[in-house]
């Protein structure tokens, strides 16, 4: 009957319109990032030109400038080093802590786990004041190592909580069998729990890395010299000469810095959701 099909068609159209709305809402700023990175300055700073596509042919000049004339490569290196160090510190600290809370403690363990997780909620915009004094006392001011010291304060609580969930999903019988078979408690942790929680560990590594890349407040507070900046801080604050924003370069830098994080999030989104919602939803 025509009335039903018209109604159906209207419903379908409005559905796809909604899809398009959300898609464009989410994607447009990134499209804008991409296209700005490849446009010539003449094309960019001309209000007569249509902004949505290239009026002059696309160029790689901004990328070249980024790598040759700025400290962009150095910032990438800084972030890589910071990331690796923070991941290492986090794993060494959070893995045993999560295992202990998941297996070795009863009610106290639950409370302690929640307590550790709650410290994740203590705002950096409160802690940055005393921490900047601590950093100064340790002689780490203006150095990227200050970030290596401070970042674990939020990666450890978050990862401990994530890993607790993963450890709890391994049947305790396997570790008990290992203990009866001659392992010490520590041996059972190393030989059984760790190998069997590899997906969880991988998730934690990826997320710790992205958490460190995301961070802005501590980086802004502790670091002022350009060479020590991590990538996010550098791109957002250092590509300005005088009062002039080098938008082409800024967008190019933002693009390069965003891509790995975006890819990582997508691969591990399902694991991440499972971790976040595991406790709340029965």
């Amino acid at each position: 009957m025509p009335r039903a099909t018209v109604a159906k068609a209207a419903q379908e159209t409005s559905f796809y319109a909604a899809v398009a709305f959300f898609f464009i809402l989410a994607a447009f700023p990134f499209y804008w990032m991409v296209i700005t990175s490849f446009k010539t300055d003449a094309d960019l700073y001309n209000v007569a030109h249509i902004p949505f596509w290239f009026n002059d042919p696309p160029t790689l000049k901004h990328f070249q400038y980024l790598f040759h004339e700025t400290l962009f490569a150095r910032w990438l290196l800084n972030s890589l080093v910071i990331g690796i160090c923070v991941v290492a510190i986090t794993l060494v600290t959070a893995l045993p802590a999560a295992y202990s809370l998941a297996r070795m403690t009863g009610k106290n363990g639950e409370a302690l786990g929640i307590g550790i997780f709650l410290t994740y909620l203590v705002p950096p915009t409160l802690l940055f004041l005393p921490l900047s004094r601590v950093i100064a006392v340790l002689g780490l001011q203006n150095s990227m190592w200050s970030l290596v010291l401070v970042y674990p304060t939020f990666t450890i609580p978050f990862c401990t909580w994530l890993l607790m969930g993963f450890f709890k999903s391994i049947p305790p019988e396997i570790e008990e069998a290992a203990i009866v078979d001659g392992c010490s408690l520590f041996g059972a942790f190393i030989k059984m729990a760790l190998p069997l929680s590899l997906p969880g560990i991988l998730t934690v590594v990826i997320f710790t890395f992205t958490l460190t890349l995301q961070e802005f407040v501590y980086a802004l507070t502790f670091i002022s010299s350009s060479a020590q900046k991590p990538i996010t801080l550098g791109v957002a604050t250092d590509l300005i000469r005088g009062d002039i924003f080098y938008w082409g370069e800024i967008m190019a830098g933002a693009l390069i810095a965003s891509i790995p994080v975006a890819i990582a999030y997508n691969f591990f989104l399902d694991n991440f959701i499972a971790g976040i919602t595991g406790g709340a939803v029965k």
Partner: protein, 309 residues
């Protein structure tokens, strides 16, 4: 009878099996994490509290106790009260907007359609990409001269160039802009939370409701919404906590301006405590975040507990 070889020789009597005790090893395992958190979160927190009741500045690092003097001083300052209200407007404006977008986005993504995986991947981007980088993109989009938004509105004939809105230069528009950017960052997270909650509602509960005669909207509001409330509440806790204390978006887009129109608590604490070096007042300002955070978290946790299914 099949004979087995001689039995395992019994070990010597007194071993130190101390690390086989769950309580000992358990304590050792947790201690690095606890130590880290105590030393670099717990102690600094106490330091911040002490700063707020002292006369500590960078130029005069005195630990002299001044009681509530700092708090009185900042409360008397009209700029501070403005900052406080800005922070509330910023937080609740962006959370509400983000939640609404999240709810409807989740409903859209519930239904399978060709290309859904790709759409989902793209929709996650605002939340996945580092705050500062996404904010910088918006900054460019709001640029006073070259804003693509203005260009589009002019091209559509909605306004003319002379009256093009100065997104970051006009006090009200500036607040709107930072709210929009924050909501934009938050809504994918809200979508994920809603999706997780909705898909966790057991199908048989929904089926029973349909058999009982509930239509789409009733099912939605009387069955689904109450059941996903706990998980949405948790998402809200995260959202509120991180927005209320944030300074990145304001710092990058408006530097708190124009004329303090978008200054929020986090930014003000930064300006006073770090940039100006007035640590004691900066700490006092930052501490104002705490009561609100505490109230929000406690309220939400109570709410969740009561609704435990």
């Amino acid at each position: 009878m099949v004979a087995i070889a001689e039995s395992v020789p019994r070990p010597a009597s007194r071993f130190r099996f101390i690390f086989d005790r769950r309580d000992v090893l358990g304590a050792i395992f947790v201690s690095p994490a606890i130590l880290y958190v105590l030393l670099l979160v717990g102690v600094p927190f106490l330091m911040a509290v002490y700063y707020s009741v002292s006369a500590y500045t960078i130029y005069d690092p005195s630990w002299r106790f001044v009681g509530m003097a700092n708090f009185e001083q900042i409360l008397e300052n009209p700029d501070f009260r403005h900052t406080l209200s800005n922070t509330f407007i910023f937080t609740f404006g962006s959370q509400i907007l983000g939640l609404i977008l999240g709810k409807f986005g989740a409903l859209v993504l519930l239904r399978p359609f060709p290309g859904r995986k790709l759409v989902r991947a793209i929709i996650i981007l605002p939340f996945a990409v580092p705050v500062a980088l996404a904010t910088v993109a918006w900054q460019w989009m709001f640029d006073s001269l070259y804003s693509v938004i203005n260009w589009t509105m002019i091209a559509l004939g909605l306004i003319d160039r002379a009256n093009a809105p100065n997104w970051l230069g006009n006090p009200d528009l500036a607040m709107l802009s930072v709210i929009v950017v924050n909501a934009w960052r938050f809504f994918p997270f809200a979508i994920v939370i809603f999706l997780a909650g909705i898909t966790a509602v057991p199908q048989d509960v929904l089926d029973a409701a349909t058999v009982d005669g509930a239509g789409f909207w009733r099912r939605n509001y009387q069955i689904i919404v109450p059941m996903i409330l706990p998980i949405v509440a948790i998402g809200l806790i995260f959202g509120i906590v991180f927005t209320f204390t944030d300074l990145s978006i304001v710092f990058l887009m408006t530097m708190g301006g124009p004329i303090g129109a978008t200054t929020v608590l986090g930014y003000s604490g930064f300006q006073t405590g770090i940039v100006s070096g007035d640590v004691s007042h900066g700490a006092a300002i930052s501490l104002f975040m705490l009561p609100v955070l505490l109230v929000v978290v406690v309220l939400m946790l109570r709410f969740i507990k009561r609704r435990e299914i």
